[in-house]
Amino acid sequence: MGEGDDMTEHPAIWFQASACSGCVVSVLNGVAPNIRDLIVDHRVPGHHVSLRFQPTVMAAAGDAALEILAATEEVKEGYVLVVEGAVPTGAGGLFGYAAKRGAQTTMHARALELAENALAIVALGTCSSYGGMHAAEPNPAGCVSIGEALSGAGIEKPVINVPGCPPHPDWFTGTVAHALLFGLPGPDAVDTAGRPKRFYGRLVHDLCQRRGDFEAHKFAEAAGEPGCLYELGCKGPWTHADCPEREFNGGVNWCVKAGSPCQGCVEPFFPDVSCPIYAKIGLLELPRIVRDEESGELVAVRRP
């Protein structure tokens, strides 16, 4: 299509709070679409994402970076806010500092300001969605998810959670594509944990290549052994993600296929809920298929 014609620019601000940069690095690993499609080209014809502020890749530093950030955030509902990392609230927010034009402020205050004017918020990664690794016991910096920070401040904004430690790039780019093609996912398209069902609608256990071994009670007892990893603490039975089907790094591999138990990295309360990682989960937590007495249909019993 003709360049420059009928192009809608979608400004985005990518705010890094208490993060490890694993989420942005994972997004760089996208294959189709990939990062070039996302920020240089316009793979969804007529729509281009203008990544105005992204600290890991942007050319500008210091004041120049803060200028463009300020100009973008001035436009009410004029941008989508991507939050990477958890929000540190301990010590009055002073465990995390954020630069702002002409002022110094905290990540906590900055996250709220940026959210207030945003059209919508994408909570990228488990830390941003639920606190994640940065909120692990004893949560030394008082980290919370962006959703929690917003409700604590009484700010109401649509937040889409795209958890994962880090998330699969498709989970992010797929969510962006949905927004560009069809608008934000509606309430039916997300689960109770605020995640798009398209990616987080099924259990790792239900999609796992080693499920046959599970049914046949062939269990690995040590790292590197074949068989289902249930005895080695696999959290696949209660983890909602399509990793086995999608696989990571261009479809090369994923946790269980590489012999490592699912750690439940997309779930609220990860990592504490998953630790000890190698401890077997209780049988009660296993989902199973039963016949519903009233309807007579087969239904899946999920984690209580």
Binding site: E3, L28, S50, M58, A60, G62, A65, S260
Partner: protein
């Protein structure tokens, strides 16, 4: 520029994490420099009371750019705690090396093209491009549309490459996105996924090598070797030729150390004496090798926001006791010192240590580059020296990995898997893409009761120590001439040459006018 003035760059972008750098310049010459990050996370505290095996999976989450090096340091540390450090099977040893090696390639390519290059390359030079390179066509259309973020704004006034060289480098910037992604795909063959790989565990690895996996690994490795030798190294040389004055600035402490890393055997349990691809040792500007005794490292906290009682300790005795608001502090990074002296770590340190120790591969590479640039070894003690050392290291690691992949034996053991011991202590020291990394742990009652990390950026971006000696990055800035305070290219080029990774080094700043709350961490 005239008179005394403070130049503050906040945030320093295109690095990992949150960093602010402030320099005081007198008539344009930097007299003082302070590097301060902005975030305290307390990872070490989060690992306490956990099953020790969780540490290799969780501690890597300190950094999404170099998680593998942390997983490796943690696994080596746990191997020692579990008393199995001499018994990791060869397949486990080799797969660990391949996973870490792949992370080196990814990290070095990402650093040069996507973090550092925009300081030297003008990507707008392709605005009227008419050739057939689809990457440049894509960039041209992008520029035409006029929404130039995230490539604009930027510092202006010092882009020196020719139009053709700029265009070629811009095309390589896009190509390098594909190359670094391929490095992660290769990593994932034996590491399961990336970032936050899952393959490296205490005792070895969880993947099982097969011929098809070895071939899948080697296929991507070959593509990367062609990229490194045919594109990455020539691009570094192109930049070096145009910005020759950067061989003269940014030197800093001129003391380097390397713990050594990438295991060539596992029988020797003293890691610094073990035969490793990167040798361990220390070296100064005279390029005479000196031995490394990890017992002589102490962490100072006088100028960091930690309780003073914890200063001067060896990491194995270290404690993380935050003291926000401590008067003498200006950083959340501790200041590690070796026999009281600051040391630089990273690719340049590894290259110089190997060179000084007479490593034939390292000598060959160094001499090759120096003769091409018609320069003396001292030219390496600089901004461009760091970039060159990084590129040469990528080449050497990639070459070595071909041989390592061929050592894998399908069907043979990959891991010496154990339940955690009641008690134990250990140290895991290795090399991350951006420098030396060490983990120290102690187990009691089957749980972790102590866990300390000393990471590369803690060495490089450390604040002043108890004696008031500035850290390596601070010293590298001092003496530099800043040509334009509005566009302080020199500051960001020097800082980025270290490839700082702030996530690893916990840190905080005091917002002006706000009383710092006292906090107690349980």
């Amino acid at each position: 520029m005239s008179g005394r003035e403070t130049i503050s760059v906040d945030p320093i972008t295109r690095i990992e994490g949150h960093l602010k750098v402030e320099v005081v310049a007198d008539n344009g010459e930097v007299k003082e420099a302070r590097c301060s990050g902005q975030l305290f996370r307390g990872f070490e505290l989060m690992l306490l009371n956990r099953d020790p095996r969780d540490a290799s999976l969780l501690s890597q989450r300190v950094c999404g750019v170099c998680p593998v090096a942390h997983a490796m340091a943690s696994a080596l540390c746990l191997d020692a705690c579990f008393g199995i450090d001499g018994r990791v099977p060869d397949n486990g040893r080799v797969m660990r090396n391949l996973v870490l090696g792949a992370n080196f390639l990814q990290s070095h390519i990402l650093h040069f093209y996507h973090l550092a290059a925009l300081d030297f390359v003008d990507v707008t030079a392709g605005a009227d491009y008419e050739g057939a390179d689809d990457r440049l066509g894509s960039l041209r259309d992008f520029i035409k549309r006029g929404e130039l973020a995230p490539f604009m704004p930027r510092y202006e006034g010092d882009y020196r490459l020719s139009k053709e060289a700029n265009q070629q480098a811009a095309s390589h910037y896009v190509q390098a996105l594909e190359a670094r992604r391929a490095a992660h795909e290769m990593l994932s063959v034996f590491g399961g996924k990336m970032p936050h790989q899952v393959g490296i565990v205490v005792g070895g690895c969880t993947e099982t090598p097969t011929a098809d996996k070895i071939a899948a690994f080697l296929s991507r490795l070959e593509m990367l070797r062609r990229f490194i030798e045919g594109i990455y190294i020539p691009d570094v040389l192109t930049v070096a030729e145009a910005y020759g004055d950067y061989f003269e600035i940014g030197g800093g402490v001129k003391r380097w150390l390397s713990y050594g890393g990438l295991e060539l055997e596992t029988e020797e349990t003293n890691l610094v004496a073990r035969e490793r691809f990167f040798p361990s040792g220390r070296v100064g500007a005279d390029l005479k090798p000196a031995a490394l005794d990890v017992g002589r490292i102490a962490e100072h906290v006088r100028h960091s926001w930690y309780a003073d009682e914890s200063s001067g300790r060896h990491p194995s005795k270290g404690e993380t006791v935050p003291a926000p608001g401590k008067e003498s502090g200006y950083s959340w990074i501790k200041a590690p010192r070796y026999e009281g002296e600051p040391y630089e770590v990273g690719p340049l340190a590894r290259l110089l240590v190997a060179y000084a120790r007479g490593d034939r591969g390292a000598r060959g590479e160094v001499e090759g580059v120096l003769s091409r640039l018609d320069a003396k070894p001292e030219a390496l003690f600089s901004v461009l020296g760091r970039h060159a050392a990084r590129a040469l290291e990528a080449k050497r690691v990639a070459e070595a990995m071909v041989g390592w992949a061929m050592e894998l034996r399908p069907g043979e053991p990959v891991c010496e898997w154990r339940e955690p011991p009641e008690a134990g202590r250990g140290m895991g020291v290795t090399e991350a893409p951006r420098g030396s990394v060490g983990h120290w742990a102690e187990i009691e009652g089957g749980k972790l009761v102590r866990y300390q990390l000393v990471v590369p950026t803690t060495w490089n971006a450390s604040p002043q120590d108890d004696e008031g000696k500035p850290g390596p990055m601070e010293q590298a800035l001092v003496g530099t001439r800043i040509r334009d305070a509005e566009n302080p290219f020199e500051v960001v080029r020097i800082v980025r040459s270290f490839d700082p990774c702030l996530a690893c080094s916990v840190h905080m700043l005091t917002p002006k006018g706000q009383e710092l709350a006292r906090c107690r961490v349980l």
